[in-house]
Subunit: 234 residues, 2 copies
């Protein structure tokens, strides 16, 4: 098995997605929210790019979730905090979600053979699933408005490290693995240095940062299938 890393969706054209298993990651906070939501469990999450599309799905009865610039969209039901996804009232509901970086990254991965949604929160579950597959892996970091970020790169490194005995392809994978190995004993400390963590802290959302960096809180495996996110395990 071969693993490569794309540090930002703006570089995804450099990668061949055909036949690959792509893991999309947006640690602060889109994919951490998605993994949390699918654990509670929400029935399905429909990622869309615009507020208008999200509102249209809301008018059809879905819960509306999303942020712009890190802040909840005004008429939406929930924003982009994993804690909002833990509320029992969304159980078995469908949620339409639009986020700044995460949704666009999922859409840009659609040429892949299979798309998973990754977060530290379900790292081991995702690793165990991937180990049973035969496809080569591409970790697609959502980044921040196109610029590579620390937290998604750390996750990429963690996934490579945990997959074990894989062949990395390309220097971005080496970069991610090296970053993770240096910081694995203090991921929170490293992630707090990220620009995004600083932005979230300005909104007073530091508990989200601490939560999103936790490993293996949930055992779900989440995939993007037929335009929506579903739980494929357990």
């Amino acid at each position: 098995m071969q693993v490569e890393v794309c540090l930002t969706p703006e570089l995804i054209h450099q990668h061949d997605l055909k036949g690959k298993l792509v893991v999309v990651v947006d640690i602060f906070r889109a994919t951490s929210c998605m993994v949390t939501g699918m654990s509670y469990p929400i029935r399905a999450i429909y990622p869309v790019e615009t507020v208008e599309e999200c509102t249209a799905l809301g008018n059809q009865g879905m819960v509306m979730a999303g942020e712009r610039g890190g802040k909840k969209i005004e008429h939406f039901d929930i924003g982009n905090s994993p804690f909002e996804y833990m509320q029992g009232k969304w159980k078995d509901r469908d949620i339409a979600v639009t986020t700044t970086n995460g949704t666009a990254t999922i859409k840009k991965s659609e040429a892949a053979h299979e798309i998973l949604i990754g977060a530290f929160l379900n790292l081991a579950a995702t690793v165990n699933y991937i180990k049973k597959q035969k496809s080569d892996v591409l970790i697609h970091c959502a980044a921040w408005k196109g610029t590579p970020n620390l937290e998604d790169t750390l996750y990429a490194g963690a996934l490579i490290h945990e997959l074990d005995n894989v062949r990395t392809m390309g220097d971005s994978a080496q970069l991610a693995l090296s970053l993770y190995l240096q910081h694995k004993s203090d991921l929170l400390g490293a992630a707090k240095k990220s620009g995004h963590a600083a932005r979230l802290a300005r909104f007073g959302i530091t508990r989200d940062i601490s939560f999103c960096i936790k490993k293996d809180v949930y055992d779900v495996v989440v995939a993007y299938l037929g335009g929506r996110l579903v739980r494929i395990l357990p």
Copy 2:
């Protein structure tokens, strides 16, 4: 002073170059060659994008240098090895050079206030020069066909580390610094893991790799001024 890093020219549109001091780096091997050449000393180096432009300057009497895909261009005088730039016969000559990644990165930096050419070979000299300037710094990695690479990112981290007491801006700077701090006791070992080093090794050019990763062999400071590279110090 603030320092940011652009990991590949494909992301340079995310950075505001206005008023910045940009350091262009292409460790394997364009900027290492340029720094070597300017130490011998060549009079000036004219970086151009195409083989045709380079040939036209050759017809005007310049030495022609350059590579495509890591190999010397057939009718050129020299390829892209720093050792070729050490030959006394180019002394006080003008050299026209075209390379895969380095030249394009210089051209894409032209909106900056000032452009330096960086390499491990003249790290300390460049650091000392920058410390006396007032501009914020952007380290522009030439990368490999648009994908971030280990060796240029290592240099970016080394420059940030040596500048000391600077404020990093953006996660790419943090990433580079972290990579450098992890590998600074064995830069050659780290650089050998890069895809580009592997490509060069296939061409049998391992001594170039070892040389290009050496710090402070030369004390020149090289700048891009009026369409050509010149030595501004000593």
